[in-house]
Symmetry: C2
Subunit: 339 residues, 2 copies
């Protein structure tokens, strides 16, 4: 990030025709984007959205309200345009890619879907490490390649999304292992478990954490407790940071991937903005650890990158206001009394 352009943008915010500070968080957003873009006239367009999909072996333990076949079915729904993120990509004029990393259900060849199959699903993390070392590397590479495609397409903002029945279990386990916190603090209902289901999910995460032990190395934790799509999101975030592409982070799953990325590479944090506070209870702790103040708090908990998509217009508004408002001098408007 460019401190020089942050300073120029901050100075510009002081002379636009509004009381200084009156645009609230939108002012800091514009300043942050100016620093990330290395310009005092920031933009987030074009926007690239990439949804990574993968199945989770831990579903054998009964941790989700939805059957595992839904992961593959939703990949087809992304491609067909009927999913929330598909609707939002069209609505917002963003390009959408779907990367299928491996699902238990069969996914046919579909336009807009990139198949980079690592396996039919991760292993059951309650019993054994979820990924093999080669699988983690493959998923990180898949994410990095998505960042590279975004860079090659000239994209100025990256939104990553997730699809994987069982992935709030994996994300909660990852965060617990990295924080050294018990699962009661971070496990929630996901797609809609009842209290009995949440209790079972807590027992499953406890078992996985006991198996994993107290190794807090980010890559070890990712290998032991991660998912294909979460590891790919980690790779995408690291790849975007390396290529100076700002990332608008979605909810609980993407934030868990971001946490792993920042543990691995602390400088990656600079490239992250946070879209929303998820209704999934574990998100708060992850946001706090990342020192993140999200833009929205609408009780969303869908994943797919949908919360980031809904927040995107706030970034566009921040840029439009910053770039296109008149200054006091330009518009011949008096400043504060006595100044």
């Amino acid at each position: 990030p460019s401190a020089e352009h942050a300073a120029l943008a901050a100075a510009r915010q002081q002379v636009l025709t509004k009381p200084p500070g009156s645009l609230g968080q939108l002012e800091q957003l514009a300043i942050t984007l100016a620093a990330l873009n290395g310009t005092d006239r920031p933009t987030v367009d074009p926007v690239r959205m990439v949804v990574f999909a993968g199945d989770h072996g831990v579903c054998a333990e009964g941790v989700s309200a939805f059957p595992q076949e839904v992961t593959a079915q939703m990949v087809a729904n992304f491609a067909g345009g009927g999913a929330a993120i598909s609707v939002m990509a069209r609505e917002l004029g963003a390009s959408l890619e779907v990367v299928n990393l491996g699902t238990v259900g069969e996914v046919p060849m579909l336009p807009g879907v990139i198949h980079q199959i690592i396996g039919p699903s991760t292993a059951n993390m309650a019993e054994t490490p979820a990924l093999g070392p080669g699988q983690v590397a493959a998923a990180l590479t898949s994410g990095d390649q998505a960042a590279e495609r975004s860079a090659n397409a000239g994209c100025r903002l990256f939104i990553g999304g997730d699809m994987g029945i069982g992935n709030t279990t994996s994300a909660a386990a990852l965060a617990c292992a990295l924080f050294g916190l018990p699962p009661e603090k971070l496990v929630g209902p996901g797609t809609g478990l009842d209290s009995e289901g949440v209790a079972r999910k807590i027992r499953v995460v406890s078992k996985a954490l006991a198996r994993h032990g107290d190794d807090r190395n980010a890559l070890s934790v990712l290998t032991s407790l991660g998912g294909f799509e979460i590891a790919a999101l980690t790779g995408a975030i690291l790849g975007c940071a390396a290529r100076k592409i700002p990332v608008l982070v979605d909810g609980f799953i993407v934030s868990a991937a971001a946490l792993v990325a920042v543990k691995q590479q602390p400088g990656a944090r600079d490239w992250l903005m946070f879209a929303h506070r998820s209704a999934e209870p574990g998100h708060d702790a992850v946001l706090e650890a990342l020192d993140a103040t999200p833009l929205l708090d609408l009780g969303m908990r869908l994943g797919e990158g949908s919360g980031a998509a809904v927040a995107l217009p706030l970034l566009r508004a921040a840029c439009a206001l910053h770039n296109n408002m008149a200054s006091f001098a330009d518009a011949g408007i008096s400043g504060k009394s006595g100044e």
Copy 2:
């Protein structure tokens, strides 16, 4: 509002390809808009934005950080395209009208500005009622005419905005009088008073409230303590409700106008959605009195309708998701396990 269409929309939200409830507040927004539109496929477009401008006699008491001439200067800035609301209207493809109700500074004839001059400013409410009875009627009519123009243009959402140096003083006084609360609870820094300025503003509002007495009739309060633009916003809200046009309410000033409107005509509340929680401290009490949960909390405090403009994409997202997502049946996707 149509309970039948609310029920249809609520049923649709249950079958879209997402865990029920996972779009959070966006689901209820779509249901509310369906009820207001009388259709199960709601829309907010086309959007009309109208900024009402007027000066405040109470500025003689030194209640604002900005000189009074700024009101007229900003009317020219709205017309010239350099103000925040002008930028947002272009960015969002909304039509923007500016209604000049009377400013101390001179406003030339400008394209996009409707002149409906009531006087150069209200009277100083610390000394005497701010408006005469004929002036209140004229301002209410101006707002109603804006609602009528919106209806004639086929607009499906109305965003009202305010411009008037001194108008947080008037809005705070209005709310205090309607609630029977002391000014310490509702007076804030507005465009940027320091603590000494806020203390002076509290004394001025106290003096106005003492003069006004304990009459809580909405029209009496509006006459005694209102502003031209606040009264016009009240008229616009009542006019929109009468014409079944949903209103996205901006910050402190428009919410104060909405409070007067709802006291006058409780049924008007049904047509109001609330965009954001302003940084101006009095807004919380007004929102609570209106039983309003705003969409955004970004620390904005600019007025002009800018907070509502920034929130507009959330309404569009709610409609797009509701109208365009596939259902589980359409997409051939399995529902929750055991259902």
